[in-house]
Each structure stands twice: as structure tokens, then as C-alpha cells.
Amino acid sequence: MNEILKIEKLSKYFGGVKAVHNFNLSLQEGKIHGLIGPNGAGKTTIFNLITGIYKPMDGNIIFCNQDITGKKPYSIARLGIGRTFQNIKLFANLTALQNVIIAGNQDITYNLLESFLRTVKFRKEEKSLREKAMMLLETVGLADMADKMASNLPYGHQRKLEIARALALNPRLLLLDEPAAGMNTEESKELVTFIYDIKERFNLTILIIEHHMDVISNLCDECTVLNFGETICRGCPSTVKRDRLVIEAYLGEEYVC
């Protein structure tokens, strides 16, 4: 099996705060890996380091045998790492369809001149991009809301739209930052099936941050628990749940009972 993402000795401090310290990860293609831990443990910081929003102080990030440490966010995205944000960041004043179309821009090969001349190539590529965007909206169940303004969609739909937008990049690795936030048990069960389906359909590898333990245990092959920037435990979810340190730092005694 192929190793798609390899992180070695990754560190990022904000002043005196060790947001991430000596973080290692080896992610095999086709797997779902969970990142869990209390608030402020450094989970989102790791996402921001992988996607290039922050520059690491130390360590390497290797994606598909290519060193992406310190690259610009847009070039990392173009290599095939899609992400969603913890606090949803949609193109709020555009329609759902436009949101997805913009993310599919990287498929387009026509140049400026061809777009001014409205050549056959231009029209063909625009049409197929639109079709792809509609297909993705259908996949996440938002086809009938294609013309709705993104900011007017209900919260749950906005999360789905963010996933559709990330998929439009044709990613190989998808980073999901708390996709189940604000969902009840029923909805998060649905989400588990949904994430598993898109992973199979688009041949994805997924790194997921989540607080709902049921989502993590149903979905992840493996997970890493962080606390104050340090990795305190790693393993399959059922083992992790019984770990003494994890219970003390994150899950709490009641969870075990």
C-alpha cells in the first residue's frame, strides 16, 4: 500500500505556546485517520500546517513523495489536498453552484486570449465544469439548492457544500475539520455513511478532526490523540478509548462507564 502523507517531527510554536510539538504521522492511501483531543490541543494547527497557511518551525511534510513543507496554500491545494474549515468559509454571496465551479477552476486549461475570443474550447470546458459542479452538488444532496445563495443555506447544508467545494479540486487527500459540529446523533450517523461513500467514490484518503467519538469509532481506521500539542496516544479507536492518558486528558471518567 502507498504512503500518501508523511509528517516528521512537525513543530509550531506561537510565542511560548507549543501549539504542535514533534508531531509524526504516516498515512496510507485509502485510510481514514482521526485527530482528536481537547480544545487547543493543536488539531487545526496541524491542518493549517499541512495546507501551508502556517509555516512550520521544524519538521517535514511529504505528500505523494513530494516535500510540501513551507509551500504556498494554493500550490498545495493544486497538488491535491482539499480541506474544509472549522468555522465555515464559503463564498457567501455566491450561489451554491458558483461556489463549486470556482473550486473546479483548476480543471480549466484555456488561456486568457481563448476566453476573450470565446472559442469552442472555452465553451466546452465551461460546460463540462458546470456539469461536474452539478454532479458534485448532487453527490452531497444539494442539487435542488444550486441557485441558492451560500449564506442562505442552513448550517448543515453549508458544511456539505464545503465538502462539495473541496471535492471539486479532485483531491487525493481530504482534510475535514469537525464536519459533525452542531449535529445530533442521528445526523452524525448519516454523516458517517456519507463520508465513507465519498471516500470510496472519489478514491480519497481522509484526515478528520472530530469531537463526536461515535463518528471517530465508526469511521476511522486509526486515530491520534493530541493534548497541548503533544501526541499522547495513537492506535485504532477501540484501543485509544481505553487508554488511561486519553481518558484523563480528553474523554473523562464518565465516558468509560
Binding site: T51, F85, N93, I102, A103, I108, F116, A166, A168
Partner: protein, 299 residues
């Protein structure tokens, strides 16, 4: 066409070109510039120097001076576009003012504060009209392509734009260069229309006027920008006696737009015959439908 009407039409045309540039920058990319009069000045002085001192024909002179404006914007942009919103605005403001002062200072070339005189009157109605059409089609096709979508993504949500593979810095730089080329183009038409220019014509108030016109017309709409320019250029012509209150009226208009219609007259949508037709259809088709409903219930 009477020369007065032609004069107003030319003024309107070159204002449209300059405002379209600001529209791409501010309306579609959400970068505010208070320095575009500086680029107009570069176009105006550049083309005037080329035609009078080097005997270059008018059209090549327009192209060269507009391209030079774009080049300056590229260099300024490389230095300042990393700055966040407000700071970029201050930088452009400083740039516009420096250009004005510089042109007043290099008297042997520009005529200094007394102005550059005896520029041949080459600008006519036809050149202006053709320029407006080209400028509009170029802007329209730009906005309705991948590049335009990149600009809009930068406007809406920069972090997300980067996350979907858009080079936001390059997009901003492109928008800034295009706005400068448009301003330089308008400037070249301007100097060969008036035949006399002074640095004072390209002051902060002119830059502010361009941005205000874009805001009144509506951000994110090219047709809105044209509509805004029509209003801002023609109203002062109609109310000549109020000319000295122009900036006051602009101020009131901007406050009114922000309070009453925050997106501007035509914000975030384009003028479309189809939409008007479908709106009218809705209005007229709705009424009989209600009637039909009643008939159905009765039978």
C-alpha cells in the same frame, strides 16, 4: 452632433473606461484604491509627451502609455499587495499623490504646475466610442471566465480561495494592473480631448470620484458601473449651477447608497433583458393563475 453634446459624450466615455477599471479592482476583487488618478495622470502625460515631443501617432501613444501605467501598477502591486486591505488603500493614496507632486516638480518635461499645453486635439467621439466598446467587452469577458471567478473568490473569501488552488496574490496583481491600464487609457483620451492638463486635475478628489462612482453604481457589476458613471457625469452637467457643491453631493449620495441600498444601484448582478422579461411574466402571469384557482374550486 453639437460640439457641446460631443464634449459631454467624450467625457462620459473616458469616465466609463476609468470606472470600469476601478470596478474590476474594487467591485470584483474588493481592493480599494485611492490612487487611480495617478495612473490616469501617467496615461495623460505619457501620451501627450509621446505625441508632441516624439511625433508618435495617437493610437500607438494610447497603447504605449496605457501599457506603461500597467507596468507601474505591476511594480507598485508587487510591493504593496501583500498589505492588508486598509494599508493597501493608504499605499495607493500615497502613490497617487506622489505622481501628482512629481509631475508638478519635473517642470522641463511636464510644464510643472502651470500645466502641459498645446496638446493636439486627437480625441473625438468615434475613438472614444470604440474605446468604450472594447473596454467593456474586454472587462465583460474577463469577469465571465476562469480569471474573473478567481477575482470574485478573492473578494468573497481569501483563505478559502487559496484552499481551492487560487493564487490570490497573482489575481490581485492582475486586477490592479488592469485597473491601471484602463485608467491610463482614459487619461490618454482625456489629455488629447482637453489639449491642456495640469497635475492638479489628477488629485485625490479625482481618485475618490472614480471609487465613489463604482460604489454608487454597484460593486460587482459592470453594467452598474456604467450606470453609475452616467449618473455621476451627467447630473452635474444638468445642474451646472450646483457644480461647486459636487463633492458635497457625492458625499451625500454615497451615504444615501450605503444606508438605503448597500450593494449600490446594481450591486452583484448585471442588467439583463431576460430578467426583466421573466419579472414581467411573473407579474402578469400570476394574476390569471389566482383567477384560475378560484374557477377550479367553484366547479
Amino acid at each position: 452632433m453639437s460640439s457641446y453634446v460631443e464634449g459631454v459624450a467624450i467625457l462620459l466615455g473616458l469616465n466609463i473606461i476609468a470606472v470600469l477599471g476601478v470596478s474590476i479592482l474594487t467591485g470584483f476583487t474588493r481592493l480599494f484604491s485611492f490612487g487611480n488618478a495617478g495612473f490616469m495622470a501617467i496615461g495623460a502625460y505619457g501620451s501627450a509627451i509621446l505625441t508632441t515631443k516624439y511625433g508618435i501617432p495617437f493610437i500607438p501613444a494610447i497603447i504605449i502609455s496605457a501599457a506603461f501605467s500597467g507596468l507601474i501598477a505591476y511594480l507598485i502591486g508587487a510591493l504593496t499587495l501583500k498589505l492588508r486591505g486598509d494599508y493597501f488603500l493608504i499605499a495607493t493614496l500615497g502613490f497617487g499623490e506622489s505622481v501628482r507632486v512629481l509631475f508638478a516638480y519635473i517642470e522641463p518635461i511636464t510644464g510643472g504646475a502651470r500645466g502641459f499645453t498645446a496638446i493636439p486635439k486627437y480625441t473625438n467621439f468615434y475613438i472614444t466610442a470604440i474605446s468604450v466598446v472594447i473596454a467593456f467587452i474586454f472587462a465583460w469577458n474577463l469577469v465571465h471566465s476562469k480569471t474573473g471567478r478567481d477575482l470574485i473568490a478573492v473578494r468573497e473569501q481569501e483563505a478559502a480561495a487559496e484552499a481551492v488552488g487560487i493564487n490570490t496574490f497573482a489575481s490581485k496583481q492582475l486586477a490592479f494592473v488592469i485597473s491601471a491600464v484602463y485608467a491610463g487609457w482614459a487619461g490618454a483620451l482625456y489629455s488629447h480631448n482637453l489639449t491642456f492638463i495640469t497635475p492638479e486635475m489628477f488629485n485625490l478628489a479625482k481618485s475618490a470620484e472614480l471609487t465613489i462612482t463604482t460604489v454608487i453604481g454597484g460593486l460587482g457589476s459592470l453594467t452598474g458601473s456604467v450606470l453609475g458613471t452616467l449618473l455621476v457625469t451627467l447630473l452635474p452637467e444638468l445642474f451646472r449651477s450646483l457644480a461647486s457643491y459636487r463633492m458635497l453631493i457625492y458625499g451625500i449620495a454615497v451615504v444615501a447608497v450605503i444606508v438605503l441600498k448597500p450593494d449600490g444601484l446594481y450591486g452583484y448582478r448585471e442588467f439583463s433583458i431576460n430578467r426583466i422579461i421573466s419579472y414581467l411574466k411573473k407579474v402578469f402571469v400570476k394574476a390569471p393563475k389566482k383567477g384560475a384557482d378560484i374557477v377550479e374550486r367553484n366547479t
